[in-house]
Structures are given as structure tokens and as C-alpha cells.
């Protein structure tokens, strides 16, 4: 069968001040009609550049230096800008990562589908409106007529992404590009959007190019998976085979980095001594409009305990109050309820408590002061808690950073390196408990695996307990001893990891588990 999309030898350069950078290097791939090709790669692999090259919308400093892109019999690279605008949207649809930013905030949701129908199918405004409403029903949105008149900020993330999908499918394209369409969504919402995608695909027979950093996810939706690394496609295989026998080392690392619950990284059981106990912890954000609190939601009546050296996982969707809990334990927000450290009630957050309980934040860009060098960042906790600046090289070595990094500024480090500095800063105080608030959420899968390994190594050395907050159930099932499940600011489940899947978990926990599938071909072992 002739391929629908056929890319051969595509090479793309960006001209920058420091020279030419090759972002796509001799990329060849093809997508048959009705086929879905998954493209996996970490940040900087060239996935987005590939999508933009297909769409014919490259940055001004980009140069296509070789290769062809064919859609059916048409050479896309040879199209005029004008002709290309009749292909975009009409023959190739696209769904973006973040529906919160990819929809125009000042247009109603309805108009954003209608404008595509008017443009590409030549419908009148009235006919387009009716057609758009029926598309909203096809993407399983209730109250379609009402939703048409709403603005993006009045809809949930899942609803917005469905609208975006409707506007990509409505002109009946031959091919749809998906650029990480579930990454910005909550786990359960994302899983339902994926179900929708499968159904639409079956109904319309559309071909797809599904781009993601998540190998486990891509393997579930794609017929074939291509792995990209530094602008090259290094391997292209059936999903099952990629997992079973990856041909390349890099693919092997990616496969290994996919969190699998059955692959426990922590074997020991924590000591029985209770380290910290929290009772009836509540935080409420009143109307403090001036100090706009971030989207953190209040929490109420949380009670749990952490033992010495225990890893206590906390999962929940965005807005469930996970971060608020972290901030309450770190003494960053006013709370009610009692906290006991080794049986002693903590009335005010004094030195002893601050020393024992440290926190690492999600975004190292924000948590490392951009105007302090790494040595200054590490020197403060050392000074406060009886260390000396002579310990800085050791501290850096502990987190596998060369001691020369002491003189660097945060912006000279990669994301993973920054997070390791933040971890070093937390460990400078020799804490008993470290609160990890989504610390790997902004990192690539392979960097995440390395960071997790580092945390476990530090725990082996110091016996530190972790409160490990994440949205990734599979990840936390690899390392935690017990799990707290949060929803709408309350604790719905508190369960030992070993008990998961035995039917004793809460209904909501079961939904989360169902929405976090394990890699293809390995389901049976769950």
C-alpha cells in the first residue's frame, strides 16, 4: 500500500549565533493510511521540529537542507505558503500538548471549531455551528450547545482538549498529528482522552503521528514506535518488540526508565519507630487576593504518620491538595491540627524541626535563587546547621556533581543538575525527612530514573525518610512503602503498597490504577 505520509532523508538545521545546529538528521519514516506511528524521544530530540517541518511552519532561522515530505502524491516541502494553508487543518490536523494555552482565551469554544469548518469545508456560519455542535457530541461532551458558547477559562482541561480534538477532526483530515496531547492532563482525564482517540480512529480511519516523551504511553496507542535521539530516528519497531528486545542501548535505557510497579527498587522495610505523626491537618486559603496563592487548594482533616526511613507516597490529581500538604509540613502555610516529631508535639516551627524536615520543590528554576552561585546556595543550610563551607565539594559529590560546579550559576545547569543541587541543599542539613514535591515531574524519563536512584542511594546512606509526592502512580509504586491517596483536599485512601490490587483499596485508587497502565506485553505480571 502506498504510504499516506512519506518522509525521506529529511535534514533540518537551525542557524544560531554560535553556529549551525542540526535538529533533524536524515529522518525517514512513513505512515500508511489508517496507521498510527508513535514517535518517542526526550526533550531536544527533535520531535517538535519534525512536526513543524511536516506542517511547513518552521522558524525563520531553520533551513531544510535535504529530504522530501510527501503527503499522498504531493511534495509538502515544495508547496507555496498559500497552498500549504489549504493543507494545514484540511488534510493534516493537529492536537497540541496544553489545551489551556492552545485555545484562544477570547473566543468561545464553539467559534474555534466553527472557524475551521467555514475555512476548510466552506460551510455557512449557521451550518458550521450545527456541525460543530454535533462534533462536540461525537467527542463525548455533554451539553454541547451550552459548551459552544463558553470561553476556554470556563471549561475544564479535559473538556478543552476534547474541543481541540474536535476542531482537528472536524474537517475530516487524512492525518492527525498529536503532540503530547495528554501530558498536561490529569491521569484519569488523560486516559479517557486516549480512549476517545482510539474510538475516533476506529470510526474515521484517520492516520496519526503520535509524539510523546512517554514510551509506555506511545506503545499503547501506536501501531509502530519510532525512537528519536538527537535528531535521528534510531529505531522503528512494533511496540511489543521495542519492549521485548530493544536494538539500541538508548532504547534499552528508555525502556528501563519506564516505571513498572512490579519492578520494586526498594526491598527493605522501614524501622518501626515513628518519626513524624500528623493529626487532623487542615489548611484553608481564605480570600487573600493580594497574595494570590498559586492554584493550591485547601486540605482538611489529614492524619497519617511516617516511620524512620519510610518512603510514604502521596498521589492525587492536580488540585487535590498534595502540594498544600507539603507546604503545611514544611511550615510554609498556616495550618491547624497537630504535628509530632518523634512523639514531641511541634508548636512552632523551630530550628530542630526545620533541620529535621527539609523540602525539595517541583521547579528548580524557581527554587534556586538565580542570583546565587551553587556554593552560596549550599553554604546557607551548612552555616545554619553546623556544617562548614568545606563540606560543599563532598555535598556535590554525594549528588554525583563534580565539585567544580560550586562556582556555577543556576542558569548554567541542566534541569536534572539543578534538581540535584536542590537535593544537595536539602541534605546539607542532615534531615530525617525530606518532602519531595513532584521533584521529577519536569524531568525527562531517563533523568527521572537517575534522580530516583540518587534519592534511594542517599536514603541507604543516611536512613532518611521521604514524603514522595507525585501524580505518577507507577513511579511511586516502585519505591514507596505506603501510599496516601488524596482527592479534593481529603485523604481517601491510606494503604500499604503490597496491598494494592488485592481489592482492599478505595474505589478511587482503583480508578487511578486503571488509568496508569503498565507497558504493553507486561500486563500479565501485574
Amino acid at each position: 500500500m502506498t504510504p499516506l505520509l512519506d518522509i525521506a532523508g529529511l535534514t533540518l538545521d537551525y542557524r544560531t549565533r554560535s553556529g549551525t545546529v542540526r535538529v533533524l538528521d536524515n529522518v525517514s519514516l512513513s505512515v500508511a493510511p489508517g496507521e498510527v506511528l508513535g514517535i518517542v524521544g526526550e526533550s531536544g530530540a527533535g520531535k517538535s521540529s519534525l512536526a513543524m517541518a511536516i506542517m511547513g511552519r518552521l522558524a525563520g532561522n531553520a533551513r531544510l537542507t535535504g529530504g522530501t515530505i510527501r503527503l499522498g502524491t504531493d511534495d509538502l516541502a515544495a508547496q507555496t505558503a498559500r497552498a500549504m494553508r489549504r493543507i494545514r487543518g484540511r488534510r493534516i490536523g493537529m492536537v497540541f500538548q496544553n489545551p489551556a494555552t492552545s485555545l484562544n482565551p477570547t473566543l468561545t469554544l464553539g467559534r474555534q471549531i466553527v472557524e475551521v469548518l467555514v475555512r476548510h469545508r466552506g460551510l455557512t456560519a449557521g451550518a458550521a455551528w450545527r456541525e460543530a455542535a454535533s462534533w462536540l457530541e461525537r467527542v463525548e461532551l455533554r451539553h454541547a450547545a451550552e459548551l459552544m458558547r463558553r470561553y476556554p477559562h470556563e471549561a475544564s482541561g479535559g473538556e478543552k482538549q476534547r474541543v481541540a480534538i474536535a476542531s482537528a477532526f472536524a474537517p475530516q483530515p487524512e492525518l492527525v498529528l498529536f503532540d503530547e496531547p495528554t501530558t498536561a492532563l490529569d491521569v484519569i482525564t488523560g486516559a479517557r482522552v486516549l480512549d476517545l482517540f482510539r474510538r475516533l480512529r476506529a470510526e474515521t480511519g484517520v492516520a496519526g503521528l503520535y509524539i510523546s516523551h512517554d514510551l509506555g504511553l506511545v506503545a499503547r496507542v501506536a501501531d509502530r514506535v519510532a525512537v528519536m535521539q538527537r535528531g535521528r530516528i534510531i529505531e522503528s519497531e512494533l511496540p511489543r518488540r521495542i519492549f521485548a528486545m530493544p536494538a539500541q542501548d538508548y532504547t534499552r535505557r528508555l525502556v528501563d526508565a519506564v516505571p513498572r510497579p512490579q519492578n520494586r527498587l526498594v526491598q527493605d522495610e522501614p524501622a518501626s519507630a515513628e518519626l513524624l505523626c500528623a493529626e487532623a491537618i487542615s489548611v484553608s486559603y481564605g480570600r487573600r487576593r493580594l497574595f494570590r496563592s498559586r492554584s493550591a487548594k485547601g486540605i482538611s482533616g489529614l492524619g497519617f504518620s511516617i516511620r524512620e526511613g519510610e518512603i510514604l507516597g502521596v498521589v492525587g490529581e492536580s488540585g487535590s491538595g498534595k502540594s498544600t500538604l507539603a507546604r503545611a509540613l514544611a511550615g510554609l502555610v498556616a495550618r491547624s491540627g497537630e504535628i509530632r516529631l518523634e512523639g514531641v508535639p511541634v508548636t512552632r516551627m523551630g530550628r530542630d524541626y526545620r533541620r529535621a524536615v527539609q523540602i525539595v520543590f517541583q521547579h528548580p528554576d524557581s527554587s534556586l535563587n538565580p542570583r546565587q552561585r551553587v556554593c552560596d546556595l549550599l553554604a546557607r543550610p551548612l552555616c545554619l546547621y553546623g556544617g562548614s563551607t568545606g563540606d560543599i565539594p563532598d555535598l556535590l559529590r554525594q549528588v554525583n556533581l563534580p565539585p567544580e560546579y560550586a562556582s556555577r550559576w543556576p542558569h548554567q545547569l541542566s534541569g536534572g543538575e539543578k534538581q540535584r543541587v536542590a537535593i544537595a541543599r536539602a541534605f546539607a542539613a542532615r534531615p530525617r525527612l525530606v518532602i519531595c514535591d513532584e521533584i521529577t515531574a519536569s524531568l525527562d524519563a531517563s533523568v527521572q530514573a537517575v534522580t530516583i536512584a540518587l534519592l534511594l542511594e542517599l536514603r541507604r546512606r543516611y536512613g532518611t525518610a521521604y514524603l514522595f509526592i507525585t501524580h505518577d502512580l507507577n513511579l511511586v509504586r516502585q519505591i514507596a512503602h505506603r501510599l496516601l491517596v488524596m482527592r479534593h483536599g481529603t485523604l481517601v485512601d491510606q494503604i500499604a503498597i503490597g496491598t494494592l490490587g488485592t481489592g482492599r483499596e478505595h474505589e478511587y485508587t482503583r480508578q487511578l490504577m486503571a488509568a496508569s497502565p503498565t507497558p504493553v506485553g507486561e500486563e500479565t505480571r501485574t
Binding site: R86, R88, G89, M94, P105, T106, E115, V116, H153
Partner: protein
């Protein structure tokens, strides 16, 4: 736009005017001026001065004087000019109407020029047109009105003889002549505004052009004019509305200078004359009316913003 929001906004405006009244009254109290001397002249007899002071209530405590003045203002009575002996309120309002003509013309000219200029500069970022617009806007924000006005006079009125030098002809009396007299002051006032707003429009447009939703609109294959008008301009214009409203404050200040130079009998010139003559009631009325104008414009801008930006509509 909920009623509660509107009510809060109106209360804020009332508070603004109260603060301005107190401030203006306080400053005029400190002004080294003796109202009685100003009205009767230097060679008035001490007895006559004392009698007038008593009549004006100048011996009363300051807060009582403020209350007398403020309650009169609330009834629309701004007092009698110490210089001309005429009621200040009507004089100032007539002057305001002439200034508003100048302000509205300048604002319109600014909008017509600055918005397209800013958008074009953003679309041609880094190219010759962008640099030219940048240069002009640097000049515009760096030349004070009195310099621009003088340069406009040198070139357009003196060298080229295209325009009358100074003076004011009400367009209602003689349309063509009135317009000819307005050209130079409008050009002067709008230059600064054009510079400022086009810079703002340029940076807003650049931000919006880099947004995901404009990329998405483009990748939906929409026609370029649709993308530009419906997706780019619609969003880039929003923040510019509030900047223009704030610029009205600057414009009102600029009007003082421009009216003085072009001899336009507007509120700016009336204020300047009042300040030079220590005509306290006139200063109070003029300053208050200017602040009220600014407050009303900002209220309107806030309402416009709320109507145009759906995210704020229920705020």
C-alpha cells in the same frame, strides 16, 4: 461584569476624588498666597483686608474651611475666581470642553497611527521598518512637549508657512480655520502617545505571536488576515487599553504645556494662569476637574476591558 464589581469600582472612584480633593486643598493651603491680598491688591487697607478675611472664613480652622469648600464642590459650586471675580466652575468647564477637543483628536490620531505601526513593527521584527519605528518612538518618548511644540512651530508654521502659528478658533465658528489651528497642537500631543503606545503594541503583539493559540490558529490553516485580526490583534489590544487609559494622565499633563505654547484657552492654560496668579479657587477646581476626567476615563477603560476580556467578565 457583576453589579458588585461595578459598585466597588464606583466606590473606588469616589475615594479617588476624595483623596484628590484633600490633596489639592492641602496644597493650596500651603501655597504662599493671601487670598485677601490677591483680591484687594497690595495697597488695600489692613481693615479692609481683615474684613475680607473674616468674610472668606480664612480665620476658621483648616478642617472647617475644607468642609465649607468641599460641601460647596459637592453642590457644584467651585467658588469665585480671585482674579476675574467670575464663578470658577463654569469657566473651567468651558475651558475643559476646548481641551477635550484637543485630547480626543490627539487620542484618535494616536490610535490610528500607533496600533498599526506597533503591529507592523512586530511582524517585521528586527528588520528596517521595526528599527525605524523603534527610533521614532525613542525620539517621541525623549522629547518633552515644549520642545516638540517649538520644533513643530519652527518647521510647519515658520519655515513652511503651512499652519497658523498660535491661537484658537472654535471649529464651531469657522470649521476650516479651527481645524488648521488644531493641527500643530494635536501633532505635538500625539507624538509622545504614538511613541509610547506603538512600543507597547509592538511588545504585546510579539508576545501574542509567540503564543500557542496563534500557532494553533496558523496550523489550522486559517487565512493570515483571520489569524492576525481574530487571534493576534484581539488579544494584543487588551493590555493596550489600560495603558492608553493611564496615558490619559500623561496627556492631561502635556496639555498644560501645549495649550500654553499654542495659546489655546483650555483647562491646562487656565490652570497655569491660576497657579501663576495664586488664584486658589481656580487651582482647586482645575486640578479636581482634571483628576475627575482621568478617573472617568479609567473607569470606562476598565469597563471596556471587562467587556472585551471574557476572563474578567465575572470577576
Amino acid at each position: 461584569m457583576s453589579p458588585a464589581w461595578l459598585l466597588r469600582r464606583l466606590l473606588l472612584m469616589a475615594y479617588t476624588l476624595l483623596v484628590v480633593s484633600i490633596l489639592v486643598f492641602a496644597i493650596t493651603q500651603i501655597l504662599p498666597a493671601d487670598a485677601a491680598v490677591t483680591m484687594l491688591g497690595q495697597d488695600a487697607t489692613p481693615a479692609a483686608l481683615a474684613a475680607l478675611r473674616a468674610k472668606l472664613g480664612l480665620a476658621d480652622p483648616v478642617w472647617l474651611q475644607f468642609w465649607h469648600w468641599f460641601s460647596a464642590v459637592l453642590r457644584g459650586d467651585f467658588g469665585i475666581s480671585m482674579r476675574t471675580g467670575l464663578p470658577v466652575g463654569p469657566t473651567m468647564l468651558t475651558a475643559l470642553s476646548r481641551s477635550l477637543l484637543l485630547a480626543v483628536c490627539s487620542l484618535s490620531l494616536m490610535l490610528v497611527i500607533a496600533i498599526p505601526l506597533g503591529v507592523l513593527a512586530a511582524l517585521r521584527q528586527g528588520r528596517a521598518l521595526d528599527l525605524a519605528v523603534g527610533l521614532i518612538s525613542y525620539l517621541g518618548i525623549s522629547l518633552p512637549e515644549f520642545v516638540t511644540a517649538t520644533l513643530v512651530l519652527v518647521v510647519l508654521a515658520d519655515r513652511l508657512q503651512w499652519l497658523p502659528a498660535t491661537g484658537y478658533v472654535p471649529p464651531s465658528e469657522h470649521l476650516l480655520d479651527g481645524i488648521r489651528h488644531l493641527v500643530a497642537p494635536v501633532l505635538t500631543v500625539s507624538l509622545v502617545l504614538i511613541a509610547h503606545v506603538s512600543r507597547m503594541m509592538r511588545s504585546e503583539t510579539i508576545d501574542v505571536l509567540a503564543s500557542d493559540y496563534v500557532l494553533a490558529a496558523d496550523l489550522k490553516g486559517l487565512a493570515p488576515p483571520t489569524v492576525l485580526l481574530r487571534h493576534v490583534m484581539r488579544n494584543a489590544l487588551l493590555p493596550v487599553i489600560s495603558v492608553v487609559a493611564l496615558d490619559v494622565g500623561y496627556l492631561l499633563g502635556g496639555i498644560i504645556v501645549v495649550e500654553e505654547i499654542f495659546a489655546i484657552p483650555g483647562i491646562g492654560r487656565a490652570l497655569l494662569v491660576a497657579i501663576q496668579n495664586r488664584d486658589l479657587p481656580a487651582i482647586q477646581a482645575g486640578a479636581l476637574i482634571m483628576a475627575a476626567t482621568y478617573a472617568v476615563v479609567n473607569l470606562l477603560a476598565d469597563i471596556a476591558y471587562a467587556v472585551l476580556d471574557p476572563r474578567l467578565r465575572y470577576g
